[in-house]
């Protein structure tokens, strides 16, 4: 059993790494949003997997919560980038750097 659990954890850690990598390297806002989603989904995977192997099934409920919240977050993010696109005609985050220093 626990071998199977470790598989899930390995996948989830891999997803976490991919997500953080994507956030620090990609410049396109939409891709960065994807990266955040990947991290959240890594966590969701964890939650569901743990819930499967634990007597306490709260993890699955939590995963549902987390999906809903992530959706709300993405909605806000997309709204922000639409506003930005209207002003700059551009969604390259690295170009937004008038605030610095």
């Amino acid at each position: 059993m626990s071998n199977e659990l470790i598989d899930f954890v390995i996948v989830s850690v891999a997803l976490l790494a991919i997500g953080i990598y994507g956030l620090s390297v990609k410049r396109n806002f939409i891709r960065m949003l994807f990266a955040v989603e990947i991290v959240i989904n890594a966590a969701n995977l964890n939650l569901v997997a743990f819930a499967r192997f634990l007597p306490h099934s709260g993890g699955q409920t939590f995963a549902l919560f987390s999906i809903a919240i992530a959706a709300a977050e993405v909605a806000v993010g997309l709204a922000l980038i639409i506003v930005a696109y209207r002003m700059y005609k551009n969604i390259d985050v690295a170009d937004f750097r008038s605030l610095k220093g």
Binding site: I20, L23, K26, R27, A94, F96, L99
Partner: protein, 690 residues
């Protein structure tokens, strides 16, 4: 009568209200000013009255010798408590301060009428009174120090109140120099001078406070008395006397005693109401109060076998010397307010002398009562004199007595009240409070049996004669003789010279009448305080008085308790001083100027005294000009080379460099931020794992 009576909640509340109410007034006055500028005066009067009434509510308790000690946690995390200690000493003091301040506030409504900065004036006045009452009522040194600094701040703001530095608000004569130092000061200069000179004392006081705290672990007066192990330890280290003398340093600064006396004269640049407050109620009395607060405590330590005599010797000699020094200068000064200021310093010297002598004698209570009683009587007549002088200035428009003269017909009320209060200052026999309190001091000094008793007694009597002389001189110059050119000019321009408005003369009238009124029963009043303090000192400090030789009886038999030598000396001093003053200034049989010029000795003496014994000039040379030279030299030869290029520039550069580095990381690019975030996460996890 038990001292540990459980006071009611209400009584404790009054004790708190005495000092809280003026602060509340200070806070709400700016807000009230938004609605109506005129009402601010009423608010000030109302709160001053409520504060004074709160003090009065406690008065019966003081007469019975009860005390209230109410504490609240201040900062419990580090064990500090705030509290009020209302014992006979502080209650009587709070009443004196409260009622005199109230009268001065009433007076100010007339005196300051129409000043456009009136709101600032009321704010600082109430702040001043609140700070003073905080000093009086606090039960520990730290809280007292807060009030102490509050008083210092308020005095600075009020002395420099007319910060636009118009010529008519200066003190001294324009162009007059002593040893190359100009003795002509603007309000802002004087405010700063007062602030810095008293600050010298404050720093000493702070050092003494923390020295004691380091050994005792508490600031509370009660706690310090309850367990005296700290004093034994300090004494063993030889630190006890230095510590209490450092505390006395604070009192020297606040009470303008030698060598920190010079600020008091320049403090005359403030509005006269402020001068009255400083001299009678709030500022200079703080030092005396501090000594009165600490004296019994130190004496009790002395009674327990710890050597503290030097402390009291220093107090007595500082007091005696200041009394003489400043009295002589009052003889020659041409400005009415400065004469009164010198006189205050000199009278405070009397009080210090008495409190010091108390600690050197068997009968602590005699000197203690004498000093305290003199403080009360001085508060009354000096407040009255100042307010009267203020109305003279108000009417005549000049601070020089040579610009007055012959005013007795024109300002009858002021004339009468100034005589009454002035007689108090002179110590006119048997009918003024000043006589009885001064006589008590003489008696205490004479009977102390100390080796210094005789020289100090002689100084005291001499000073008394001088006091009578300069007071007579002041009265003569202002009210007798011919009208001065200045007044003639004013009258010819159509000014009508008359008494000040009612809101001004009633307050000083009340105090002048009280000076005589209480003076008539003065001896029994003193007996009452004596008895009260005997008991207070016994119950609170365990200071036993071997025998009480004061009889309290209303009829003529009252003279039996007097010391004949003290009374005799007092009478002679009064007679000599008044007589000489009369010859020169009221009868004007001899011209004082000719008299001085007639003899090289008198001429030199006059010059030395008029130049303030060169003390002021020396202080400026030693502590202002020389340090400036030194600072410039250090700056040029040392700072600029070593410190500036080495440390300052280095420090500044490194901070700037650090700022540049940090700002450099803040590139504005979100990716780099996120990268740092990721690296930080790794860093934290690594630290945790290791």
């Amino acid at each position: 009568m038990a001292t540990e009576i459980i006071a009611t909640e209400g009584d404790a509340m009054f004790a708190w209200l005495i000092w809280i109410l003026p602060f509340v007034a200070a806070l709400i006055i700016p807000a009230v000013a938004k609605v109506s500028k005129l009402s601010t005066g009423r608010v000030a009067i109302g709160f001053a009255a409520m504060s004074a009434i709160s003090a009065a509510m406690l008065f019966p308790m003081a007469l019975e010798g009860h005390e209230i000690h109410s504490q609240v946690d201040w900062i419990s995390a580090i064990g500090l408590k705030a509290g009020v200690l209302a014992d006979p000493l502080s209650i009587i003091m709070a009443n004196v301060v409260g009622w005199i301040s109230f009268l001065i506030i009433c007076y100010s409504t007339g005196y300051m009428k129409g000043d456009k900065d009136i709101v600032r004036f009321w704010f600082w006045m109430m702040f001043f009174i609140g700070s003073m009452q905080l000093i009086v009522l606090s039960d520990n040194l730290l809280q007292l120090f807060f009030g102490w600094e509050g008083v210092g701040l308020a005095s600075y703001a009020l002395i420099a109140f007319w910060y636009r530095d118009k010529a008519k608000h200066h003190v001294g004569k324009e162009g007059r120099t002593v040893l190359g130092i100009m003795e002509y000061y603007s309000p802002t200069h004087s405010g700063m001078k007062a602030f810095i000179m008293t600050k010298v004392g404050d720093v000493m006081m702070l050092a003494g406070m923390f020295l004691i705290f380091a050994f005792a672990g508490t600031f509370g007066f009660k706690e310090l008395l309850a367990d005296t192990a700290w004093a034994v330890n300090m004494s063993a280290e030889g630190l006890l006397v230095p510590a209490v003398v450092l505390l006395f340093g604070g009192a020297i600064g606040k009470s303008a005693q030698f060598p920190l006396n010079e600020w008091l004269l320049e403090a005359m640049t403030g509005p006269t109401a402020v001068s009255a407050l400083i001299h009678a109620a709030t500022m200079v009395k703080a030092g005396v109060f501090l000594v009165a607060r600490l004296g019994p405590l130190v004496f009790a330590l002395g009674a327990a076998g710890i050597l503290v005599d030097q402390f009291f010797e220093i107090i007595a000699w500082v007091g005696a010397f200041t009394a003489l020094l400043l009295a002589t200068q009052a003889m020659v000064n041409p400005e009415i307010k400065k004469v009164l200021a010198y006189s205050t310093g000199s009278q405070i010297g009397y009080m210090m002398m008495a409190l010091g002598i108390a600690g050197l004698s068997e009968q602590f209570v005699d000197g203690y009562t004498a000093g305290f009683y003199h403080m009360i009587s001085h508060a009354m007549f000096k407040a009255s004199l100042f307010m009267a002088a203020g109305s003279l200035l108000h009417v005549v428009g000049s601070r020089f007595m040579t610009d007055m003269g012959g005013l007795r017909k024109k300002m009858r009320k002021t004339y009468a009240f100034m005589w009454a209060a002035g007689l108090g200052l002179m110590g006119a026999p048997f009918i003024t409070t000043g006589f009885w309190s001064k006589d008590a001091i003489f008696a205490a000094v004479y009977e102390s049996g100390n080796e210094w008793a005789l020289p100090i007694f002689i100084i005291a009597v001499l000073t008394a004669a001088i006091t009578a002389f300069y007071t007579t001189r002041m009265m003569g110059l202002v009210f007798f003789g011919k009208e001065s050119k200045h007044i003639e000019k004013m009258e010819s321009e159509g000014h009508h010279i008359h008494d000040a408005p009612r809101s001004m003369w009633i307050p000083y009238g009340i105090l002048a009448v009280l000076t005589i009124g209480i003076g008539v029963i003065g001896f029994s009043a003193e007996g009452g305080i004596h008895e009260l303090f005997t008991e207070y000192l016994d119950e609170s400090f365990g200071i036993q008085t071997p025998h009480i030789d004061v009889e309290i009886s209303g009829s003529l038999g009252f003279l039996s308790g007097l010391n004949p030598i003290a009374v005799g000396a007092s009478l002679v001093a009064f007679a000599v001083g008044f007589g000489l003053g009369y010859i020169f200034y009221i009868g004007r049989w001899v011209d004082p100027v000719k008299f001085i010029n007639s003899n090289i000795f008198f001429y030199a003496l006059h010059k030395v005294i008029l130049n303030r014994w060169y003390l002021n000039a020396m202080i400026y040379w030693g502590f202002v000009i020389a340090p400036l030279w030194a600072a410039r030299a250090i700056w040029r030869y040392f700072e600029k080379t070593a410190i500036d290029t080495g440390m300052n520039t280095g420090l500044e550069r490194s901070v700037r460099f650090g700022a540049k580095v940090v700002q450099g990381t803040q590139t504005g690019v979100a990716q780099s931020y996120l990268f740092v975030f990721g690296a930080g996460l790794l860093f934290v996890v690594l630290i945790l794992l290791i």
